[in-house]
């Protein structure tokens, strides 16, 4: 008899296991199945920097959380309803997050004395009653997988490794996910080793069948597709969206893209992604170091390419001298900082928002650089185009800030119509601009941008460099008044961009008591928290900055409209410092630097604390 199918409006699942257990792959596949089904979703991969930390150890635990629903959601969820724990260490590090009464599926085969010991358990938590408040399903995932694969020509070790697919199959049954995509995926992934492909598919199907037949599970669940706005959707991570956004910026500007990059977590994915798009004429250059990466990008910009360099905090610090040169040269250049927890090597795979002041002020002397910040994984796409637009139009280096949460997290993304994307092309100089001569620093009266004359243009030969330039001619100048003028005009040029960016929008209540002002990757948790507090009947508003330098021109008006301003940041108070300094508002900071995105619960509490 078929088991009953129960309806749920949303579910949060966390897969947790050893870093070698394939939890990211498992979570990724479950996400793809969920996306195809049409749920709204948000994911949070959370993994250690070590590729294969010691097996069974607490630091080696890798997790993947997915929140999916039949309605619009904003975050990967605070507390999972279902936890899949592949070993005792995964149980120990994750059980505290499982919602009360939640479902716990554990691989009992991994609960050996040795593994319990490594996880710091003196007695098995499966037997000591400590898990009584959860619905515990002990499943011998390993031995069931080996049993299912006994007729295959694979080693026991290879069979064991397929246990994640068994778990995926079980979860796919439990939440009624479509399975064709995963079968196709496994066929393709292991195309060079068909036996392994077949074994993984069998493990996946065996897990699904186990759910159907085992008495351990009395019902399964369905989450209907979400009623998202009409359109064609795909699932994207922030890094994928950034890579596509950079391609779009190249197409929409008509300029070839040159990416200079050095491998660094969590930015490397953009380099890898773009290196696959060579048929767009994209040149990717893996440089000898971070400095060469941005130097080559600047050299390419000088030659008329859209020069881009991608990195994370420790790499960005090394690029700063070159970014300062780009400020002086007034050439377009994009620098992407996929922020991670620091200082120093810090926690390379974990998100933080602590590079804002670095982007704003991390160069010597007066060196203004526009800063754009992506708010959601999908929003990374438009942020890349916007950053490129500013860089090209104003001939300036531009920072685009993302973070490890946006980079690896994913969500359904309404695919934009390529035909509606903005034209961000900018003309090169082609003619002398001053009495038959070419003056490289003769500015456009409106934008204050200087002409961009690329090598190969006859008659416009000129020299630029890091020494101070005379306005107009661009000749080296030590004139005191000229320097004062040039410092101010470079600042004015960047400040003037405020007239050319959208005003700061406000979501929520017009007459709110508290304005929550955030920036960048905290959009989802803040918006979810504001919804929650409003549902409880409080008046709250949310403004979210995607342009941090210059700030939108109505920022002061918005901030002054509310009695209280709360600024949640994954740092110790960087935007709040800027807002206080610029606008003399008594912004209240809420700060967490745990290497994890905010939960909407903790933010809701922070908001309620101000009401």
């Amino acid at each position: 008899m078929a088991k009953p199918l129960e309806q749920l409006d949303q579910v949060v699942i966390r897969f947790a296991g050893d870093s070698g257990d394939g939890m990211q792959l498992t979570g990724g596949r479950f996400t793809s199945e969920t996306a195809i089904l049409g749920n709204d979703l948000s994911t949070l991969p959370d993994f250690p920097a070590e590729i294969r930390a010691p097996a069974g150890s607490l630091p080696g635990v890798s997790g993947f959380q997915i929140h999916f629903s039949d309605h619009d959601i904003l975050t990967p969820g605070d507390n999972p309803h279902v936890l899949v724990a592949m070993n005792p260490a995964a149980l120990r590090t994750n059980i505290k997050d499982l919602a009360r009464g939640g479902t716990l599926i554990v691989n009992v085969d991994a609960f050996t004395e040795r593994n319990l010991d490594k996880a710091g358990y003196t007695a098995s938590p499966l037997e000591d009653g400590s898990l009584d408040e959860y619905q515990v399903h002990p499943v011998p995932l390993t031995s069931l997988t080996i049993e299912a694969l006994k007729e295959f020509d694979v080693t026991k070790r290879e069979a064991e490794r397929s246990k994640n697919m068994f778990a995926l199959g079980l979860m796919s049954w439990l939440f009624t996910r479509p399975t064709e995509g995963t079968v196709g995926f496994l066929e393709k992934k292991f195309a060079s080793n068909p036996e392994i492909a077949k074994a993984n598919i069998r493990a996946f199907q065996a897990g699904y069948a186990f759910g159907e037949t085992s008495e351990a599970f009395t019902a399964h669940y369905e989450v209907k597709p979400a009623k998202l706005p009409p359109g064609t959707y795909r699932n994207v991570t922030g890094n994928q969206a950034l890579a596509m956004g950079l391609v779009a910026a190249s197409v929409q500007s008509g300029l070839p893209l040159f990416l200079g990059a050095y491998p660094i977590t969590p930015a490397s994915g953009i380099l890898e992604e773009l290196s696959r798009y060579k048929h767009f004429g994209i040149r990717t250059f893996q440089a000898e170091d971070e400095i060469a990466a941005v130097g080559a990008a600047l050299g390419a910009s000088f030659g008329g390419s859209l020069g881009v360099s991608t990195s994370s905090g420790p790499g960005v610090v090394l690029k700063m001298e070159t970014i300062g040169l780009a400020v002086m040269l007034e050439l377009p250049l994009l620098i992407l900082d996929i922020q991670r927890a620091g200082p120093a090597t810090g926690m390379p795979t974990k998100p933080e928002q602590a590079d804002l002041l670095l982007a704003l002020y991390g160069r010597h002397a007066e060196s203004p650089v526009p800063v754009v910040a992506a708010a959601t994984p999908g929003g990374c796409f438009h942020a890349a185009i916007e950053a490129a637009r500013i860089a090209l139009k104003y001939r300036t280096p531009v920072f685009l800030l993302s973070d490890a949460y946006l980079a690896n997290g994913s969500e359904p993304w309404a695919i934009p119509d390529a035909a509606t994307l903005p034209d961000i092309s900018t003309p090169f100089a082609g003619q002398p601009n001053h009495e038959g001569q070419f003056q490289p620093y003769l500015r456009d009266a409106e934008t204050l941008a200087r002409p961009w004359a690329i090598p190969g243009t006859p008659g416009l030969e000129h020299r630029i460099g890091g020494l101070e330039k005379a306005e107009g001619t661009g000749n080296v100048s030590y004139d005191p008044d000229n320097h004062d003028y040039m410092v101010r005009i470079r600042a004015r040029k960047v400040a003037g961009i405020a007239a050319d960016i959208p005003e700061l929008g406000v979501e929520g209540d017009e007459d709110a008591d508290v304005l929550v002002a955030g920036w960048g990757g905290t959009y989802g948790p803040i918006a979810a928290a504001v919804r929650r507090v409003r549902r409880e009947g409080h008046k709250v508003a949310h403004a979210h900055f995607t342009h941090v330098n210059p700030l939108p021109r109505n920022t002061s008006d918005v901030l002054r409209r509310y009695d209280k301003v709360l600024v949640p940041e994954m740092n110790l108070g960087q935007l709040s410092r800027v807002l206080r300094a610029e606008f003399l508002v008594d912004a209240v900071s809420y700060n967490r630097v745990r290497g994890l995105p905010f939960t909407s619960g903790e933010l809701a509490e922070a908001i309620e604390g101000l009401l």
């Binding site: 250059f285 400095i291 050299g299 390419s305």
Partner: protein
């Protein structure tokens, strides 16, 4: 670097004067840089490349002012980074003739990493390293090519740093073109520039350059005493001296030694092969220095062919385009699993 910026419209009648700018040249009077600038400006018309397709990129230091004095495109960038910046320019603009002008501190201290990587990648650029064995612009500190014992502002008791030999470094990085010349030897310097300019890929040229203010006479042993110049000619036996009475011979261990031709059999002398695949003999020649033998080879040490970086990258772009068709944005955005909500 190859002269791949050839003008399709035929010969352009340019002269040295066409490559001078209106900027006052601000090196110290008597500086060797003047002679090099004059030689380069005089050589440029030979390239038959229009000025707008020539770019000079420099880092920081006395030599780095060079682009300001060349009526071409140019960039005076930051300390040590010129090879990296030139890599991005050359790779994205194969139609340009890209030159890097650098010094011993710029190229071998702060920019050492970029130099060796540009050379091993065979980026299509010509690197002119003006070696004066001292930091001039910061007023006379020792450099990575200063000999041990050199007394400078920062080494009052003499330098204790073992110096870099620029050519050994370049050859160690498997540069495809490695040469040396002397600032005041216009004829020889022009010959070397000519060979460097037609080379496909990274060409590295060390120019012995006199700093008459902080390190005067550092190269007098070859600059003034021409009998100590070991002139390398491809296919010729390596002989030198006032009467060509000395020669270079390889020892059994592969190192080079100086012998009196009178004592040695003529056919045991090294025949210079700039096109040898292996850089080891060129490396052995680079070890003949003022310190080791009181003489130094000048000319082209190594000149071999290897695919250029920009060509390889363009080849991959062409291959990807042939395979997948020219990239189409709408298709890219819709790639992967999609679903539609009505």
């Amino acid at each position: 670097m190859s002269a791949n910026g050839q003008n399709g419209d035929g010969l352009i009648q340019l002269t040295a004067k066409d490559f001078k700018t209106d900027q006052e040249v601000r090196w110290c009077p008597g500086c060797g840089d003047y002679a090099i600038l004059a030689a380069v400006q005089a050589f440029m018309p030979e390239l038959e490349i229009p000025r707008e397709r020539i770019v000079f990129i420099s880092g920081i230091g006395c030599a780095a002012r060079f682009p300001y004095y060349m009526q071409t495109y140019g960039m005076h960038s930051i300390h040590g980074r010129a090879p990296a910046i030139a890599t991005g320019l050359s790779t994205s603009r194969p139609d340009l003739s890209v030159w890097v002008v650098t010094g011993d501190g710029d190229a071998l201290s702060i920019g050492g990493n970029h130099l060796i990587h540009a050379l091993r990648r065979n980026v299509n650029i010509t690197i002119l390293l003006f070696n004066n064995q001292v930091y001039g612009l910061t007023k006379g500190q020792y450099s990575p090519t200063s000999p041990v014992g050199q007394r400078t502002g920062s080494t009052p008791m003499g330098s204790i740093d073992h110096p870099f030999n620029p050519l050994s470094v370049a050859l160690g990085a498997e540069a495809t073109f490695v040469a040396r010349s002397i600032d005041t030897d216009r004829k020889h310097l022009t010959e070397v520039l000519r060979a460097a300019a037609v080379h496909k890929g990274a060409a590295f040229v060390e120019v012995y350059q006199n700093c008459n203010v902080y390190n005067d006479g550092a190269f007098d042993f070859v600059r003034e005493e021409k009998e100590n110049q070991i002139r390398l000619e491809h296919g010729e036996r390596v002989r030198f001296g006032a009467e060509h009475e000395k020669g270079v011979r390889l020892r059994a261990d592969g190192s080079a030694e100086i012998v009196d031709v009178a004592d040695a059999e003529e056919d045991k002398l090294l025949v210079h092969d700039a096109h040898a695949d292996e850089p080891s003999v060129a490396f052995a020649l680079s070890r003949l220095t003022k310190d080791t033998v009181g003489a130094a080879p000048i000319g082209v040490f190594r000149n071999v062919e290897r695919p250029m970086y920009d060509e390889l990258l363009q080849g991959q772009i062409d291959e990807a385009t042939a395979k997948s068709g020219k990239g189409e944005l709408a298709g890219l955005l819709r790639s992967g699993d999609t679903w539609t909500i009505e």
